[in-house]
């Protein structure tokens, strides 16, 4: 259902992704791990063409975009299928929590204000932020902002949500809450791709794992294989350092 084929991303002379391919099915939770600077964020941002890849193809549902012949329209169609949750939340600072969640529904998915508001209020309820719906991001804690960020991602009813280290900027006591929320999402059948350093979460929630290093996938497998029997030498070193 979600397929990345032979993705190459370069920043000028720096080759960051050197042919990344993987495939996941609906309901999968893919955990992407790897050392800093190996292109994990770049992979997520290449998947929705925030960084246009040099080469490769991305398929989400029935939308396939080839990097070498990507039109604006195709990219928009692709982006409408996905949502992203960021390490720094990236909420729109000039909008309240509720307005943040409603925004793409109104501007991209052409829902009426009323309908968008209903959907958004429901989701804020779901992430436990109803009582803060009229707060601007500057008045919310990191954990609260991330809840709004997750509600905002859910609002557009995406085929997949891309998480880029969603708990890395949080105070330790908030990390567990957000991971718990993500676990609930996974259990409700949401397809998720999660870049994370939270090995406990990966082990418990992920259905598939990828280890990236140097812009390529060094190993792909199940959490069981990763934690009990890693094959790649670099992965072994990485796991022993992080666990």
């Amino acid at each position: 259902m979600i397929k990345v084929e032979d993705l190459y991303v370069e920043f000028g002379a720096t080759k960051v992704l050197n042919g990344v391919s993987f495939e996941i099915e609906q309901g999968d939770v893919l955990a992407i791990i790897g050392p800093s600077g190996t292109g994990k964020s770049t992979l997520l941002r290449g998947m929705n063409f925030l960084i246009p890849p040099k080469k490769g193809r991305v398929t989400v549902g029935d939308v396939t975009v080839d990097a070498e012949r990507a039109s604006k329209k195709q990219i928009k169609a692709l982006r409408e299928q996905m949502a992203m949750v960021y390490q720094n939340y990236n909420l729109y600072k000039n909008m309240t929590a509720l307005q943040n969640v409603m925004e793409a529904l109104v501007t991209v998915h052409h829902k009426s204000k009323k309908e968008a508001e209903e959907i958004s209020l429901g989701l804020l309820e779901k992430v436990g932020m109803s009582d803060r719906k009229d707060f601007y991001p500057s008045r919310l804690s990191g954990g609260q902002q991330q809840r709004v960020g997750i509600a905002r991602a859910l609002a557009v009813n995406p085929k997949v949500i891309l998480f880029d280290e969603p708990t890395s900027a949080l105070d330790p006591e908030m990390v567990g809450d957000i991971l718990e929320l993500m676990k609930q999402l996974a259990e409700s059948g949401m397809t998720m791709i999660v870049v994370t350093h939270e090995m406990g979460f990966a082990r418990e929630v992920a259905t598939k794992m990828i280890f990236m290093d140097g812009g390529v996938i060094r190993e792909a497998g199940t959490p069981k294989e990763f934690f009990e029997n890693p094959k790649d030498q670099r992965l072994k070193e990485f796991m022993s350092k992080i666990l």
Partner: protein
């Protein structure tokens, strides 16, 4: 010749009669310079092909030369080739040159404000499929406005002052009116003191308004 207070007091309302022309010039030029400045700033922010290089050249020329030669070049220089400019009223010509001049300064101020808006939220907007136009109007511009406001207000005050230069092409604004009075009575001291007083009062009042609005701007989101 001694200072004549009665004549001075008499001059204030006489000169103030032309305030409508000063106001017209300043406000029309404000609207157009804001428009020009916004377009040029967005063109550079999004690196829009063709438009951006054109705007860069425009900004460089208008910031790199004084207002007075710009006005002369337009009103007398271009008029040489263009019937349209030749038949233009001095007020229209001044409004055009003032707009172009201040537009270049505003473009730089607006551009700085756009760049000050944190990029993560812009990436988030794009990732949801929002267009560059939607992202600009709904997320970037509202935040940038508060940042740009103080410097844009200063630009507006510069515009009011700058509009006084239009008397050289025959506009009877308050400066032009003062010039006419002085040419009759030769009481330069009273006349020009009166016109300065009028400018000073207007700009001081606007300064008070500016403080108020800045408070709102700082009370950001």
């Amino acid at each position: 010749m001694v200072f004549d207070p009665m004549y001075f007091l008499e001059m204030i309302p006489t000169i103030a009669q032309a305030l409508n022309v000063t106001a017209f010039l300043s406000i029309v030029a404000l609207v157009f310079s804001l428009l020009i400045g916004a377009v040029a700033a967005v063109a550079e922010y999004y690196k829009i092909a063709v438009l951006n290089p054109i705007c860069r050249v425009y900004i460089s020329i208008f910031r790199g030369t004084p207002l007075l030669p710009q006005l002369f070049f337009f009103y007398f220089g271009i008029a040489y080739f263009s019937d349209f400019v030749r038949e233009m009223s001095p007020v229209t010509a001044s409004a055009i040159v003032l707009s172009l001049n201040m537009g270049a300064y505003m473009a730089e101020n607006i551009r700085g404000a756009l760049l000050s808006v944190d990029g993560g939220q812009i990436e988030a907007a794009f990732s949801f499929g929002m267009s560059r136009f939607q992202t600009m109007t709904r997320i970037i511009a509202p935040q940038a406005l508060r940042v740009a406001f103080p410097s844009l207000f200063n630009n507006f005050i510069d515009l009011i002052k700058g509009s006084s230069i239009s008397f050289v092409v025959g506009v009877v604004d308050i400066m032009g009116q003062a010039k006419l009075e002085a040419a009759i009575t030769f009481r330069f001291f009273e006349v020009y003191a009166a016109v300065m007083l009028i400018y000073w009062v207007i700009i001081t009042l606007l300064g008070l308004v500016q403080k108020r609005i800045e408070l709102w701007c700082n009370a950001a989101y």
